[in-house]
């Protein structure tokens, strides 16, 4: 950039304090001169600017790659892993249970597997051993990570959609509609959320369990669905408040007034001013919602209100591990580390996003 400018500068005739002015000095500027005058930095947008700031933030970038890595592992590993998360090894129908598969320590083999290895067969190692039912623990942790991430993501999506809709309606409509919606928001906001979540999850688990039988949703399990319902019922309020507040405050901004004074139409104002200024705040708070949803899911799993067995989630793995904690503490430590890593990186990345895209909020 600077070198280019120097080059340009040399090609432009030196006309600093000329001794005498000729007719050429009064001629209209030619294309080259014009180009020199309008030389600008490469065009940038608020988005590119934010990305640039985000990339400079080392902590946020490391967190970002940790999340990407964990997500990729959770998605890809189950495809080629030789064990299934629900397969109880050593249990073949019609034969007695081979108990040597149960409670294997990490990287050890069962008696049957050892004889197979001696026979020259290759047996895939149990990286984290097996659990009390003879299930490969590594694949259960990977699957649990997948479930936890998915729950966090979809719960945040539900919160986003509902909060955005209600908040936008409330902010635009104003008047009585706004008043009623905001009072409802106030009340839901002051409800002790966790207690309500436990209560709803307890009841919904039984209320919708039977009606799901035989549908696609049954595969997901009644507990996860009730978790989503709980999120849809209770957690949209802060998003709705945020969106409403944004819309109300943005509408009053001078640049919106200026745009309107310059003759901008409503759709232009929404597209060019309201949405770009809202988006960063909304994206950031959605990003920060994911770890809190993962937290809630693991908490409920721990109380036995999370995913349905045999499906694992990080919370249910940790809670199952409590039973054999004296002999197999690593079964608790592994999911504990994974869940803390996920939540920590998501939080740090969310903070980085906030710092990069919304310096106003930083405080």
């Amino acid at each position: 950039m600077s070198e280019e400018a120097k080059k340009e500068g040399q090609s432009v005739p030196e006309n600093v304090a000329p001794a005498s002015l000729t007719a050429a000095d009064f001629a209209p500027a030619d294309e080259k001169e014009k180009e020199y005058m309008v030389k600008m930095r490469p065009q940038t947008t608020a988005f590119k600017d934010g990305i640039r700031r985000l990339r400079k933030n080392k902590v946020a970038m490391v967190s970002f790659w940790v999340i990407v890595l964990i997500t990729l592992c959770a998605l890809i590993i189950p495809i080629f892993w030789p064990y299934q998360y629900e397969a109880m090894l050593g249990m073949t129908p019609g034969k007695p249970v081979d108990a040597s598969f149960q409670n294997l320590k990490p990287m050890t083999y069962s008696a049957t597997e050892l004889t197979r290895i001696e026979a020259g067969e290759k047996v895939f190692p149990h990286l984290f051993g097996t659990d009390s039912s003879g299930r490969d623990y590594f694949i259960r942790v990977v699957y649990g990570t997948r479930i936890s991430l998915a729950v966090g993501f979809f719960a945040s999506l539900i919160v986003l959609v509902i909060g955005l809709l209600v908040g936008a309606i409330s902010g635009y409509a104003g008047g009585k509609v706004d008043l009623v919606i905001m009072r409802i928001v106030d009340i839901i906001y002051s409800l002790p959320d966790m207690l309500m979540v436990i209560l709803l999850a307890t009841v919904l688990k039984q209320a919708i369990g039977d009606s799901l039988e035989g549908t696609v949703l049954a595969r997901i399990g009644s507990n996860i669905i009730s978790l989503f319902i709980v999120f849809a019922l209770l957690y949209w309020v802060s998003m709705a408040r945020l969106v409403r507040g944004q819309i109300l405050s943005l509408r009053e901004q001078e640049y919106v007034l200026a745009a309107q004074a310059a003759g901008a139409k409503g759709s232009w104002v929404i597209r060019k001013h309201l949405i770009p200024n809202c988006v960063s705040v909304i994206v950031i708070s959605t990003a920060l919602q994911i770890p809190s949803a993962i937290f809630t899911e693991s908490y409920l799993s721990f109380l036995g209100l999370g995913v349905n067995a045999p499906m694992p989630s990080l919370g249910s793995l940790a809670s199952d591990a409590l039973n054999g904690i004296t002999s197999y503490p690593y079964r608790l430590v592994i999911p504990a580390i994974v869940i803390s890593l996920i939540v920590l990186s998501l939080n740090l990345f969310g903070d980085g996003l906030r710092d990069a895209f919304d310096p106003k909020l930083n405080g």
């Binding site: 709803l200 869940i339 939540v343």
Partner: protein
């Protein structure tokens, strides 16, 4: 006290009462939406016995009349008998559990406040030093760890591997680990809150004036800055209690503390409906009241805060 403040306080109290009413109502109707009712899990109950049971608990009356009976009972703290622990009233179980849980919660809250404020002040005072960085890294890690994981890890480290503390919460000294578990998250949160609000306060003019007058660093922090820096911490009282209440559910489970949290969790697994309803209402009211107190305190302490 100005009339604006009074208006605000009255408004908040009304909202709080309304919230408690919503909790009671929601709890009641949710519990009645459960298919089958409370007696379906009993083994081999003849229709006649079931009828008699329902009559005894007033379940044969129309829903609305049940609701109003329930509402008047709840106001007098009559939650009825526990369905699973025969012969015990729900309110007695709650009261018994509260004795232990309150001790646990209050100690955890106080420790979290004291340690959090001290750590936060030091971090702000020594901004960008090694100690500050260390405090921030540790508190960030604690904030990212669910309470049940923290509790389980502490249990493994201090009770099972090393036997420093008993694993059973009912034993003597058994409350140490549960208290630490419950304390770490609010402590970390308060540390971060104090640090950022302290940094904010330290940048203000009156602090510079004090510095210019030659006041020592320690006096500036504890004599001038802390009072104002603590105002945002007040807003955390409500959420902290909510955290401690929900945290105690799992912590009491992990360490086998005979408190209300464990009673609540076992009532969920046993489907002890009257117990679930009673405990939810009591705990929820506690949280709502604490939120109310911290909101009002926040406005009263700092007259600069504008009222809506």
């Amino acid at each position: 006290m100005n009339p604006n403040m009074l208006k605000y306080i009255i408004k908040r109290i009304i909202l709080a009462i309304f919230t408690v009413w919503v909790v009671i109502t929601v709890t009641f109707f949710i519990m009645h939406a459960v298919p089958g009712g409370p007696f379906t899990s009993e083994k081999a109950v003849s229709p006649a016995v079931q009828k008699a049971m329902e009559a005894k608990y007033g379940l044969d009356k129309p829903l609305m009349s049940q609701y109003f009976t329930y509402l008047t009972d709840v106001i007098q703290f009559k939650f009825g008998p526990s369905l699973k622990q025969r012969g015990r009233m729900v309110i007695d179980i709650i009261f018994d559990g509260m004795k232990t849980s309150a001790k646990l919660g209050v100690i955890a809250a106080f420790l979290a406040l004291i340690i959090g404020i001290v750590l936060g002040s030091f971090a702000a005072l020594l901004r960008n030093s090694f100690l500050d960085r260390l405090i921030m890294v540790i508190t960030t890690a604690f904030v990212s760890m669910p309470s049940f994981i923290m509790g389980s890890l502490l249990l493994v480290a201090f009770a099972i591997k090393t036997h420093i503390f008993p694993a059973n919460g009912a034993a003597s000294g058994g409350l140490v680990l549960p208290i630490i578990t419950l304390m770490l998250y609010p402590m970390s949160y308060i540390t971060r809150l104090t640090r950022s609000s302290m940094l904010d306060v330290l940048g203000q003019d009156y602090i510079r004036t004090a510095r210019a007058k030659g006041v020592s660093g320690g006096r500036i922090i504890f004599g001038h800055a802390l009072k104002n820096a603590l105002i945002p911490v007040i807003t955390y009282f409500g959420p902290m209690l909510a955290y401690i209440v929900t945290g105690s559910l799992v912590v009491e489970q992990i360490f086998a503390v005979p408190g209300i949290g464990r009673a609540y969790v076992s009532s969920i697994t046993n489907r002890d409906y009257t117990m679930i309803m009673g405990t939810t209402i009591v705990l929820a009211s506690l949280i709502v009241i604490m939120n109310l107190v911290s909101d009002i305190l926040y406005k009263v302490v700092d007259p600069r805060i504008t009222l809506e």
